[in-house]
Subunit: 364 residues, 4 copies
C-alpha cells in the first residue's frame, strides 16, 4: 500500500499498517483538523490528524534507520507513530481541556481505543494484550514524542506548508543526520548544534505567527467555551469523539453552546478588549467579576501552556548537555516566547470599550 503524502512523497505501508489505516477509528482522523480553528485566520490550515499521523510514521521510520532500530522494534515504532494521536477528539487541543474531566486526555482515550472495539481487535491480530498495553512506553515514545522526535518534526513542516510560511521549514534531513541514541534518549550529536537551534527557531516563529496568533486564540477560546456550555446543556461528552463539523453542528442545537458554534461558522468573533502579560492568577474570578460588572459575557483567556521549554540534549566534547544550557540563542527564544504569552480579555465587538475600561480598572 502506497500513499502519496504532500510533504514526504510516497509512503509505503505494510499490509498490517494498511489495515490499521483503513479502520474506522483511524479514518475518523480525516475529519479532525490538525490546527483546530486556525483556518479562521490561515485558510490553508485544513490539514488533518490523518495526514499528520502518516507523516509521523514516516519520520519515525527514518529516525529508526538512522539510529539502528530495525525489525520488530521498528515495526512497533511505526505503529505507535501511526496511532499516537488516535485518541484526539474533535478540534484536537481545543476540546482536550474541556473533555479531559470526562474521559482523560488524548493519550488515555487512545489507550482505551486500542484496547477495545474494532481497532483493539485489529491490533490483537498481531500483538498480545500486554504488548498493546505497553505500546508507547518504550523506545517508541522517545522516537515519536521526544523533543527532537518525529511528531514535532512532522507537524512543524506540515503546518508551515499548509499555512504557506517558510519559517517552520525545518531541515529535517540535517537534524536526522546528527541524531544519536544515548542513555535511552534521542540526542543531537557533535556538530549538530546549529541544526538543533534552527529547529527551535522554526518552532518559535510558528508560535509567534500561528499558534499564538491573537485571532486564532479568540476562535479557540470561543470553541472551548461552546464545548463546555454544550456539555452543561446535556450534550454527551462522548459525542465529541466524533468529528469537527458534526460537533459544531450538534453544538448549534444546544441552548447555551449554540451561539458559539454559530459565531465560529459565520466567523463572527469576539474582540480583544484588553491584554496583560503572562498568565493572570485567578482568571476565573476576574472573568466572573468583569462579566457581572459589565453585564455582558467576557472570556478571560489564559495563554496556552503547550510550549514548555524543550529539553533537547546535545553531545559536545563527549558530554551530554542541555541545549538551553549551552545556547544563548535558545535561552533567549524562550524568554521572548514567554513575553509573548498574554492573558486576553475577550468580549463581543459592541462591548469592547466598556470592557476595556473595566479591565483597566480591575488590573490596577
Amino acid at each position: 500500500m502506497i500513499i502519496k503524502d504532500s510533504i514526504h512523497g510516497n509512503l509505503e505501508l505494510s499490509e498490517f499498517e494498511g489495515k490499521v489505516v483503513d479502520s474506522p477509528d483511524f479514518q475518523r482522523l480525516r475529519r479532525i483538523k490538525q490546527l483546530g480553528v486556525t483556518y479562521l485566520v490561515y485558510p490553508g490550515a485544513m490539514h488533518t490528524r490523518f495526514e499528520h499521523s502518516l507523516g509521523t510514521m514516516h519520520v519515525a521510520s527514518r529516525i529508526c534507520d538512522r539510529i539502528g532500530v530495525e525489525g520488530e522494534e521498528k515495526e512497533k515504532v511505526r505503529l505507535y507513530a501511526l496511532l499516537h494521536d488516535i485518541g484526539h477528539a474533535a478540534f484536537s487541543h481545543e476540546s482536550e481541556k474541556a473533555l479531559s474531566r470526562y474521559f482523560g486526555d488524548h493519550e488515555e482515550v487512545g489507550k482505551k481505543m486500542m484496547a477495545e472495539e474494532e481497532l483493539g481487535g485489529l491490533l490483537l491480530e498481531k500483538y498480545s494484550k500486554s504488548e498493546i498495553g505497553k505500546l508507547g512506553s518504550g523506545i517508541e515514545k522517545v522516537i515519536v514524542g521526544g523533543d527532537v522526535g518525529a511528531d514535532r518534526m512532522d507537524y512543524l513542516l506540515r503546518d508551515a506548508y499548509h499555512i504557506g510560511v517558510s519559517y517552520g521549514m525545518v531541515d529535517v534531513d540535517r537534524i536526522l543526520h546528527t541524531l544519536l541514541l544515548e542513555e535511552g534518549e534521542l540526542v543531537v550529536g557533535e556538530g549538530g548544534l546549529e541544526a538543533a537551534e534552527s529547529l527551535l527557531v522554526g518552532r518559535f516563529l510558528m508560535f509567534s505567527t500561528v499558534y499564538l496568533h491573537k485571532t486564532v486564540r479568540i476562535g479557540s477560546a470561543m470553541l472551548n467555551r461552546g464545548i463546555l456550555r454544550s456539555i452543561e446543556d446535556g450534550m454527551d461528552a462522548e459525542e465529541f469523539l466524533s468529528t469537527d463539523e458534526l460537533v459544531l453542528e450538534k453544538m448549534l442545537g444546544t441552548e447555551n453552546g449554540g451561539k458559539y458554534a454559530k459565531a465560529l461558522l459565520g466567523r463572527n468573533l469576539y474582540k480583544q478588549a484588553y491584554s496583560v502579560e503572562g498568565a493572570l492568577v485567578d482568571a476565573e474570578k476576574a472573568e466572573e467579576e468583569l462579566s457581572s460588572g459589565c453585564g455582558c459575557e467576557i472570556i478571560v483567556d489564559l495563554p496556552p501552556v503547550l510550549s514548555r521549554p524543550l529539553d533537547i540534549k546535545v553531545k559536545a566534547g563527549g558530554e551530554l548537555k542541555g541545549l538551553m544550557e549551552i545556547s544563548d540563542l535558545v535561552r533567549s527564544l524562550f524568554l521572548a516566547e514567554e513575553k509573548r504569552k498574554k492573558t486576553l480579555v475577550l468580549c463581543a465587538r459592541e462591548n469592547r470599550e466598556e470592557v476595556k475600561q473595566a479591565a483597566e480598572n480591575y488590573s490596577r
Copy 2:
C-alpha cells in the same frame, strides 16, 4: 484586510470584499472541499472552495493588471472571481449532477444566492439589482472562466500543491506575460505557444493522475449514488446546500443512502470489476440488466465530461489560431485523454468475480 494564502502569499482585500468574505454564504465554502472525495486517495486534498475562490480573485486581478482592466471594471472582475463558485453544493461536482434536476447547476444556484438573502443584501450596498444580475456576463466571465482564465490557473496550482505533485505547477507568471485581450477574448500572444502548451500538459497530467484516478472515480460514483438514494428517501435537496460533512451525516440516516455514506466514511469502497474504453451507450440499461442478473448492486460509471477540449486561441504571425490547430502536442494530449476515459463497472469486493464475468458476456 489581508489574508495569507498558501499558494499566492498575502492577498489584499478591499473593505467591501472583506465583508463579502465574512458573510455566512461565503464562509460556507470553507466546508466544501475543492476536490470532493479525492482525499480518499490523496490525503492532502483537504483544501476548499473558500481558498480557491480567494486565489481565483488574486489571479484574476493579475490578469486585469496585465491586459489593462482597471478601476470599477477591475473591482467587478475581482468580485465575480470571488463569487464564481458560491453556488456549489456539498462535494461540489459530485453532487451537481444529482442536484441539478432540483435547482439547477452551481451557476444558477449562485445567481439565486446573489439575488437573495444575506449575500444579496450585501451586494446591494454597492451594486444595483441589474448590475448584480449581469455579473458574470461581461469581461469578468472571460477573465475568470476562460480557457486560460483565473479559475483554471488557480485550481491547477492549488490542487497540485495539496496533492503534492509537481505536474500541475503551471508557470502562471509566464502565461500571464503573454496574455492579450483580443476581440473580447483572452488569447495567448506571440511567443506564448510553449506557455500555453505547458498549461495543457499540466492539466493533462492532473487529469490522468488525479481527476480520472480509478479510486477517486469509485468514491465519487458511490457518493453520487448515495445522494440520489437519499433524496428518493425523502431527504430535502436543499440540505445539500449545507456542507460536506453534514451532508454525509444526514445521508447516514436515510434508508437507502446510508450505506454509501457509511462506506465513504470508513473507506470501504467498491471495486472495479470491469472497464471499457469510452462512454458506454445506454449505461443505465446495462446497469439494470447486470444488477438483476447478478443479484447485487452494480454501478456503471460513465467517464466525466469535465475535460472538454480547451479552445485556447494563440496569436501567431498576426493571426488568431486555435491551439488545437497549430500544436500537434495539444492535439495528441486530447487524444490520449480521450483514450483514458473509460466506463467502469463497479461492485462490492465480494461480487467482483461474478460481475466481471457477467460484464464480459454483456459487452460481447
Copy 3:
C-alpha cells in the same frame, strides 16, 4: 564526509569517495557549467558538472536500494555515477563535437583520465587496473546512463531548479517506486505508466524551453565555431580540458577565434536570419555558398541530436513493452519534438536582412 546539495539535501560519502571528490580532476568539474552558455538566456544556469555528478551518485544509490543492488556492487555504481562526466571538456557538449576529432568524446577522455595520473592512481588504491577498465560496462551503465537512469533524473531536476521552471520537476520518488531490474535493464513496473510519461513530458518541456531555445542555440553555435577557429589558429586542443572561463580567455587571444569569445563575453550575439524545419542536408555547402554570396560570415546551425527517442521499457500485463509502443502521448511528444528541431541560419545583426533574402532564395 557530508556535502549539502541544493537539490537532494545532505549527501553522505565514504572516505574513498571523499578522496575522489577532492582530487584535482574532480574539482575541475566545478568550473565546467552543466548547461554551457545557457546562462546567456537563463542567468540562473550557473550550476556545474561537479554538483550534477554528486547528485547522480545520490540518485543512483537510491535506485540501487530500490532494485536490491548492494555491497561492493553498489559501491561501484556510486563510483561510476560520480565519474561518469569526468571527461567533459570546457562547456561540456558545446566543445565535444569540435574536440572529438582530437581525443574522442567525453567517455573516452574519462576512461583515459581514470587510467592515468592522479585520478588513476587514486582508483588503484581500491580497484585493479582491469576493474577500472571495465567501470561503466556492467549494471552501473544501466543504472546511471539508462533511459530512466540516475543521470537523466538528476539533470532534469537540477536544470529546472536553477533555471527556475517547474516543468522539469520530475517526481523522482514516484518513478523510483516503480523501477525493476529485468533482463539486465531498468524497466518501469506495472502501474508506472504515468510516472514514465511524466518523466518524458518534463523532458519535452525542458527541451522546448531550454535546450532548444533559439538564443541558447545561437550562443552554442558561436562557441562551437570559436573553438574550431581557435584550434585552427594553433591553440592546443588539450587546453580545452581546463575550464570554461579560461578557455574563453585563451580563445580571446587567437586570431580568428577571438571574436567569438568576445561576443559571448559581451553577450553580443548573432541573430537568426532564417530557419527551416529539420536538419538541412549538406549544411556545410549551404553555409559556404551563402557566406560567399553575402560576403559576411554565416553559420548554418543543425538541430542538436541529443534528444534521441528514449527507449523506456514498461512492464504491463506481465510483458515488457516499449513506452513508445503503448503510449500515444509519448509518441506524439517525440513527433512534436522533431518538428521543433530546426536548422538555423545565423549572422551578425547588420547582415540579417540580406542573409534572410539569400537564404530564402537558396532554399527554393
Copy 4:
C-alpha cells in the same frame, strides 16, 4: 526585454535597462560569484552578482510600488539597484579588503565606472553627469541598501535557494506589506514586528551556517592572502577587476600568490589549529610571532565585520523605535552572533599540532 530569474520569475526590463544589462561592464558580473569561495563548502553556491543585481532591481521595484515611489524616481531606484554592485572585483568581498588600498571599495569603483568608458557613456544617453554623480545618494540608497532594503532581501533569498537551506527563505511578501517611508527612511509599520524579526532570524541562521562557516572562512582567508601576495609580486591591482576564474589563473603565475590559487583550485585547504572568541587585538603581531616561532606560514584570521547590528526602525503605537530596543529576540540574536565570531589560527595540515601548542602558549 524579459529575463527569467530563478527566484522572482519573469523580470521585465525597459529598453534602456536592457542596454545597461547588455553592456560589457554589467555582463562582467556574470563571472563574479555572489559568495566568493563558499562553493568549497556548499557546491550550489555558484550564483553571481549578475543574477543578484537583477533580483535587487525587482525587489526595489516592489518596494517602490508599496511606498508610492513612481515615474522617473522609480526608474532611478531601479537603475541604482541594477548597478549597486557594479564595482565589485573578482570574488567580491574577499578581494575588497586587499584591493581597497589601491582603488577604494566597491562603491567607489562603481562610481568611477559609471563616470567613465562604456557604461558611463551609456548612462549619459539618459542622465546628466550630475545626475549620474548623485545616483545612490537619494531615496534609492534607502530602498536598495537600507536595513530592510532590496539588496538584503534578495541576497538572503538567493543565497538560501542556491545553498539549499530554507532558513534564509525570508517572507519578502509579508515584509513588503508592512514597509513605510517615514522621515526619509524605510521603516517597518505597525504589526510588522514579527516580519522584521523573522528577517533577522533568517539572516542570523545564514550567518551561522554559511557566512561564518569555518571552512568558508579558511578559503576566504587563503584567497585574501593570495591576492595580497600576488600584488606584492607585481600583479597589477586592476587585473582583479576582471573575473573570478581569470584572477585565480593569473595568481597561479605569481611567485608567492600561486600556492594559494593552487590550493583553492584543488581544494587543499589550511586547517584550523586554534581559535579564540572575538577579534584578537594585534592580530598581525601574533601572526608574525607565531609564524617565526613555528617556522611555517600561519594565518591569523579575524572574524568578518560584515554583520553589524541592523538598525531597523519599527513603528509601534505611533512612534518609531529601534528593533533592537523593543525586541529581546533581536537583541539576543546579535549577542549570539557576536559570540560566534572567532579569531582563527590557520596553518597547513602538517603543522597543525605544533601551531596549536604555540597558539595556546601565546594566548596565555
